[in-house]
Each structure stands twice: as structure tokens, then as C-alpha cells.
């Protein structure tokens, strides 16, 4: 199993992702420069967090036209696993690989803190080591994390169980006060219809070891590795 971590100008969590995969999970992982146009060697491609192209125009709007993104779209269409974290999620929405858009937080402030996430669906390549209803503790760090989609799209996401994580209280209840950015329906992470492209605003890459306050993020990476080696939840 080989992971590729895409590096855009302005990515700043590429090393976090690389570290987790290489040193926590002992996986084969390589950086992929944004000018690359071939992803054939990889099983999973990660779009990391950061401020690609300075977040100019809209977050992810310029990055989605990087040469590597054509390859990412092809890769995803052929069933390759794509995982976008934070800015990576924003890029996936801009590229149309995931529905909806990420907008400025309702508070208008950058939000940087640990949040609780309720797992809504564990029947996926990204969540198969979690339980449904389990509450993960994972940090967020973003100014544009308000998930927006129109009513029809939200209905579809719910119906197809494409919402993987919602911001919740520690006990798993979904409340307005647990919503750090104003996301519709407290949505923190979604998957595409075919189950191979996932995006989330919180940072599992920043909490995959016990020394870092929470190791809950490790479950997402462990799920991907388990899925690929055992074919679970394919």
C-alpha cells in the first residue's frame, strides 16, 4: 500500500501526514509535488491542510487547477482513494469531487481548538475502525470551515449516509453550541457517493499519537490501512 501526500505551494500539514503514515504506521509514503501529473504508483492520495496559493480568491480555488489535480480527478474516477484534510477538503469541493462548499466561519474568526466528532457511518474505507455513535476528539484549525450545500444536496448526503462526522458534544449530542463554525447540520466530514473520496475539516493528522493529547486521529489512517489490506468496507 502506497500513500502520496500532495504538496501545493502553501501546504503546511504535508509533513504531519507524512509523519503519521511513515513513523506511526510504518507505511510506504511519498510527497507528490503539485506539478506532478501521474499518480499511478499510489493507492491513496492525501490532500493535506494548509493555505494553498494563499487562499486567494476562495480557499482551494486556485489549487484545484494545479496540474496534479487533473491527475487526482482521473485517479478518483478510476476508484483511487482520495483523502482531503482541511484545505484538502476545500480543494476537493472546489474541484467538484465532493459536493457543497466551505465558507467563512460564522464567527468570522479563525477557530483553533479540540472538538468532538460523532461518527455517523463506519461502513466506509475511512471509518471502519470506529463505531457508529462513537465520539472522537480531533483538533480543528480553520477560518473557512462552514460547510454549505443546498437543501437537495443535504437531503442526498443524509439519504446516502455520506455524512461521516458531525460536530457534537462530548456525549455525542448534536447541538448548536458544539458547532464551531456554523456548518449546516453540524457537518464536519463527508464522503462521495462511490465511497472513495473523503474530506473533513478536523485534523486527524495532528492527533494520531497519545503524546499529542488525543490519538483518535489514528483511527482514520488505521481504517484506510485495514480497508486496503483486508478489503473491509470496500
Amino acid at each position: 500500500m502506497k500513500f502520496g501526500v500532495v504538496v501545493f505551494p502553501g501546504s503546511n500539514c504535508d509533513h504531519d501526514c507524512f509523519h503519521v503514515l511513515k513513523h506511526v504506521f510504518a507505511q510506504d509514503v511519498e510527497y507528490v509535488w503539485h506539478k506532478e501529473d501521474n499518480l499511478k504508483d499510489f493507492d491513496v492520495v492525501i490532500l493535506p491542510g494548509g493555505f494553498s496559493y494563499g487562499d486567494y480568491l476562495r480557499t482551494g480555488a486556485i489549487a484545484r487547477f494545479s496540474p496534479v489535480m487533473n491527475a487526482v480527478v482521473d485517479f478518483a474516477q478510476q476508484g483511487g482513494m482520495v483523502f482531503g484534510i482541511c484545505n484538502g477538503f476545500q480543494i476537493l469541493c472546489e474541484a467538484g469531487l465532493l459536493p457543497g462548499a466551505l465558507m467563512r466561519n460564522r464567527s468570522r474568526r479563525f477557530a483553533c481548538k479540540l472538538v468532538h466528532l460523532k461518527v455517523e457511518n463506519n461502513d466506509t474505507a475511512f471509518t471502519n475502525t470506529c463505531e457508529v455513535g462513537e465520539v472522537l476528539t480531533i483538533p480543528i484549525a480553520h477560518a473557512e470551515g462552514l460547510y454549505y450545500a443546498d437543501q437537495a444536496t443535504l437531503g442526498e448526503l443524509n439519504q446516502n449516509r455520506q455524512i461521516l462526522f458531525r460536530y457534537s458534544e462530548a456525549d455525542g449530542s448534536i447541538t448548536e453550541s458544539a458547532n464551531p463554525n456554523g456548518s449546516l447540520q453540524n457537518i464536519a466530514g463527508i464522503i462521495n457517493k462511490t465511497g472513495n473520496v473523503m474530506g473533513m475539516m478536523p485534523h486527524p493528522d495532528r492527533c494520531a499519537e497519545a503524546i499529542l493529547n488525543s490519538a483518535d486521529g489514528a483511527k482514520i489512517f488505521a481504517s484506510l490501512i485495514r480497508w486496503s489490506t483486508a478489503g473491509v468496507a470496500a
Binding site: 480568491l57 469541493c93 457543497g100 467563512r104 460564522r106 454549505y148
Partner: protein
């Protein structure tokens, strides 16, 4: 020479926290009769001399659809202005 002035706004019904904050600031300064403030972006494209108005319009629409506006959350309108700018002195 054709100049396109593109106005990008959030779609109706989409919350605009920035506009709300500005509205509250205006209210506190005595501007009580403003029903709503919405913020947007102005993007100006200056075309080369050989580009006529029709071609400028086609290019502007294409640029908006491809990159400048996100149709999930934004609308765009634009105006095309023909200007006779004096050449810059060398």
C-alpha cells in the same frame, strides 16, 4: 480597450456574517434604516487592444464559470466598459 467589471456576490439566502457585522457597525454609528448589508467582490479584467466587446463578453463569462465564481454559493454579474486610455509614456 475593454474593461470588464465583475461583481461576485453570495447567493440569496446564504448567510453573510461579514455583511451582518458591517451592518451592526453602521447601526451603532446611527445608520438605523439599512435593512441589510451584503458584501461581495469586485474583479476587474482589462483586455488587450485587439479584443472587441463580444469577445470580451465571451471570455468574461468563461472566466467566471471556470474560476472566478463558485456556483454553489456565488452569483456573478458584470459590465463591459470601453475605455480610451492614453498609452503610458515610456
Amino acid at each position: 480597450m475593454v474593461l470588464a467589471k465583475i461583481y461576485i456576490t453570495l447567493k440569496n439566502g446564504i448567510l453573510d456574517p461579514q455583511g451582518k457585522t458591517v451592518q451592526h457597525a453602521l447601526e451603532s454609528l446611527g445608520f438605523q434604516r439599512i435593512r441589510e448589508v451584503r458584501m461581495g467582490k469586485l474583479i476587474q479584467l482589462r483586455f488587450g487592444e485587439k479584443i472587441g466587446k463580444a469577445e470580451a463578453e465571451r471570455l468574461t463569462v468563461a472566466a467566471c464559470q471556470k474560476l472566478l465564481a463558485n456556483p454553489v454559493i456565488e452569483d456573478y454579474t458584470f459590465e463591459l466598459i470601453t475605455t480610451n486610455e492614453p498609452r503610458k509614456a515610456k
